[in-house]
């Protein structure tokens, strides 16, 4: 097997795929830095590139006998075809698995230093990706044997790309009606492709049961391809499609509907709270726990501001459990108490640190003083739920300016009349006696946390009339 692999096109194919896969991993490290589950899922996205290339490589290897014109010669020997083809077949698939794992391992450099939680589901997600590479390699070799032309390889790669990338998109888009509301959930067959270029929320994962079903289907598909490569008799070739059909027949009814997002579940361990009690408690989800020390400072700063000026201020802060809207459209709103500041994770930089640059996180923290989850998100109602519903921006800007003790910070998307209104309201508010200011903003915050945004606006914007 070693000789077969070394003295064939395999090293060249492997080098090409390794370079492409590693460059893909390195281009967007912020998507997975510090999170093992996200790295495993990101690698599944790289399959969109690696599967077509593995198919092309397989097709190139598969036409080797024909290229060397040894078909008739080998047909005269007693040794069965499968015995002769097995070393290269197994060797190529093994090398493709190694390439996939190495391309993933490159990303581990950005994950390992700042990761706090390794979910057991990562194993299944990665294993399915590796099995996808095996199935693609063998299908490519089978195609190369069936149509031993030069153009088979590139054309097969394009067809492979169409099947793993364009077809699922097309099926998913056809589920929307004329008003772009989802009329029909994605079929479970979308989970048959191992390539998934989307991404989940940090708290989500793909359960091992789903990975197991995907593995069953991909193993069956690989079995079909193996029969197509190794079989010499026409009767065997005729039944070669059976394993794939049986695999699909088993997997499709058992897989959840809704495609990958329908299959995603919240990982309860990843969502556990980890707190820093060295002062006012600041809690983040376990998946982000290693970076807690980096964000404690800015969060405590806002908590201190609130404690100094607000009546009934928040005394603790915790990261929201709400998932990103794109990853989970159906989520009930969960109200939190006035004594808790619920904030969004600031996101990651490409080096795996929390994204605290430009004061964006501080702005978000100040906004979350007045924010509450008010609306249930749901694809049925056509409403999109955001990680937190923010209060109307005009009174919020007034309240935030009052809290920080400076003039309102104009945002570049404000219209001139917005700015005038906000400044007038802020001046009217600060002209009141200090006690009254405190009382008024306290009432406004209580209204906002009750989701009574009309009252929130009426209390704070009264001054501009």
């Amino acid at each position: 097997m070693k000789t077969e692999v070394r003295r064939s096109a395999v090293p060249g194919i492997a080098m090409l795929l390794l370079v492409v896969g590693a460059v893909f991993t390195l281009t967007s490290t912020e998507f997975f830095a510090g999170r093992w589950t996200q790295l495993a899922l990101y690698s599944r996205g790289s399959l969109l590139l690696l599967i077509p290339l593995a198919l092309a490589g397989g097709a190139w290897l598969g036409r080797r006998d024909r290229r060397s014109r040894v078909g008739e010669l080998f047909a005269t020997t007693v040794r069965p075809r499968w015995q002769r083809t097995l070393p290269l077949t197994v060797g190529y698939a093994a090398i493709m698995v190694v390439v996939y794992l190495l391309a993933t391992a490159v990303g581990a450099i950005w994950v390992a230093p700042t990761a706090a939680y390794l979910s057991p589901t990562v194993l299944g997600i990665t294993a399915v990706g590796a099995l996808g590479m095996v199935a693609a390699s063998w299908l490519g070799m089978a195609a190369g044997r069936a149509v031993p032309r030069i153009v088979t390889a590139p054309v097969l790669a394009v067809v492979g790309f169409a099947v793993v990338a364009l077809l699922p998109d097309f099926v998913s888009m056809s589920g929307y009606d004329a008003n772009f509301v989802k009329a029909r959930p994605d079929p479970s067959a979308l989970l048959l492709t191992p390539a998934f270029p989307g991404g989940f929320d940090d708290l989500q994962t793909l359960p091992t049961s789903v990975s197991a079903l995907q593995a069953v289907w991909l193993a069956a598909l690989a079995g079909t391809a193996l029969l197509l490569i190794g079989a010499a008799r026409r009767s065997v070739l005729a039944v070669a499609v059976l394993p794939a059909v049986i695999g699909a027949a088993v997997a499709v009814p058992l897989l959840p509907t809704g495609g990958y997002y329908g299959a995603a579940v919240v990982d309860p361990t990843a969502a556990e709270l980890v707190c820093d009690d060295d002062g006012p408690p600041v809690c983040v989800r376990k998946v982000h726990a290693a970076l807690l020390p980096d964000i404690v400072g800015p969060v405590r700063e806002v908590l201190a501001l609130a404690a100094a000026k607000l009546p009934n201020p928040p005394v603790r802060a915790e990261e929201t459990a709400r998932l990103d809207a794109y990853a989970a459209p159906d989520q009930p709103a969960v109200r939190h108490d006035a004594d808790t500041l619920v904030f969004d994770w600031p996101g990651f930089t490409s080096s795996g640190k929390p994204d605290l640059g430009d004061g964006y996180f501080r702005t978000e923290l100040l906004a979350s003083v007045w924010s509450q989850e008010c609306q249930n998100g749901g694809s049925a109602t056509g409403q999109v739920a955001f990680a937190a519903d923010y209060a109307p921006f005009q009174p919020e800007a007034v309240a935030t300016a009052w809290l920080t003790g400076g003039p309102p910070q104009p945002q570049d998307w404000w219209r001139p009349q917005d700015q005038q209104k906000i400044e007038a309201a802020h001046q009217a508010l600060t002209a009141l006696p200090t006690d009254e200011q405190r009382q008024l903003v306290g009432q406004a915050r209580a209204a906002a946390l009750d989701c009574d945004y009309d009252r929130f606006e009426a209390l704070l914007m009264a001054g501009d009339r």
Binding site: L16, V20, L48, L49, P52, L53, A56, R66, R67, S68, R69, P148, R149, I150, V151, A153, P154, V155, A157, V158, F161, A165, D169, F170, P197
Partner: protein, 204 residues
């Protein structure tokens, strides 16, 4: 005429032409069913041009490489004419569709992508032989049509995804021109590398 037909047959043009025309025809027939627009989008144009370029790329050498280097003929001229006429043929094929319902437009993008991809194919043929000339154009096209690539202000993206940038993007045009010129010059001057005749089959 006799020379031309014999030359083209020796380069296995019929099969390549069938594949190139087939790819265009298939897209042309299928496009109205998958889209509301009449203009085939840039990604699909790139894929169709890629298939045409790799199919015609196999015609860049004949059955025996040493025959293509014999001193009795002016091979550089033949190679340059071959490559240039191939580019014209692909553009002309796509131009025909502009009088119908599903069109390969705009012309700038069609010309840019054809020139760039054929240049890259010729460059590959010069370096690795015609049989392996498809690797570079295939890899670059696959990268460029990934869902997260798109028109962008960033130079990195404009070069990496030059195939799907809108017409008039300077970096993309420059990239395609460089590939086209490099491929044309390299293939004209050097031609395909000499390989033993056994590696090339009359019917591939």
């Amino acid at each position: 005429m006799r020379f031309v037909s014999l030359f083209l047959r020796s380069r296995r043009l019929p099969l390549a032409a069938v594949i190139a025309i087939g790819a265009v025809a298939l897209t042309w027939v299928a496009w109205p069913h998958f889209s509301d627009g009449q203009t085939v989008n840039t990604r699909m144009i790139s894929v169709v041009v890629l298939i045409a370029a790799v199919a015609l790329g196999t015609t860049l050498s004949g059955a025996d490489d040493s025959l293509d280097h014999s001193a009795s003929a002016r091979w550089p001229v033949r190679r340059a004419v071959h490559l240039l006429l191939t580019a014209v043929a692909v553009v002309a094929l796509l131009l025909v569709t502009t009088v119908t319902e599903a069109r390969f437009e705009p012309l700038d993008v069609v010309i840019r992508n054809t020139a760039g991809l054929l240049g890259l194919t010729a460059l590959g043929a010069t370096l690795f032989g015609a049989a392996l000339s498809w690797i570079a154009p295939l890899t670059w096209t696959l990268i460029a049509i990934m869902p997260w690539m798109g028109p962008s202000e960033q130079l990195r993206m404009q070069v990496g995804a030059w195939l799907i940038q809108p017409a008039g993007t300077t970096a993309a045009t420059v990239c395609a021109t460089v590939l086209a010129v490099a491929g044309l010059v390299a293939y004209t001057v050097r031609g395909c590398p000499l390989r033993p005749a056994a590696e090339t089959l009359p019917d591939h």
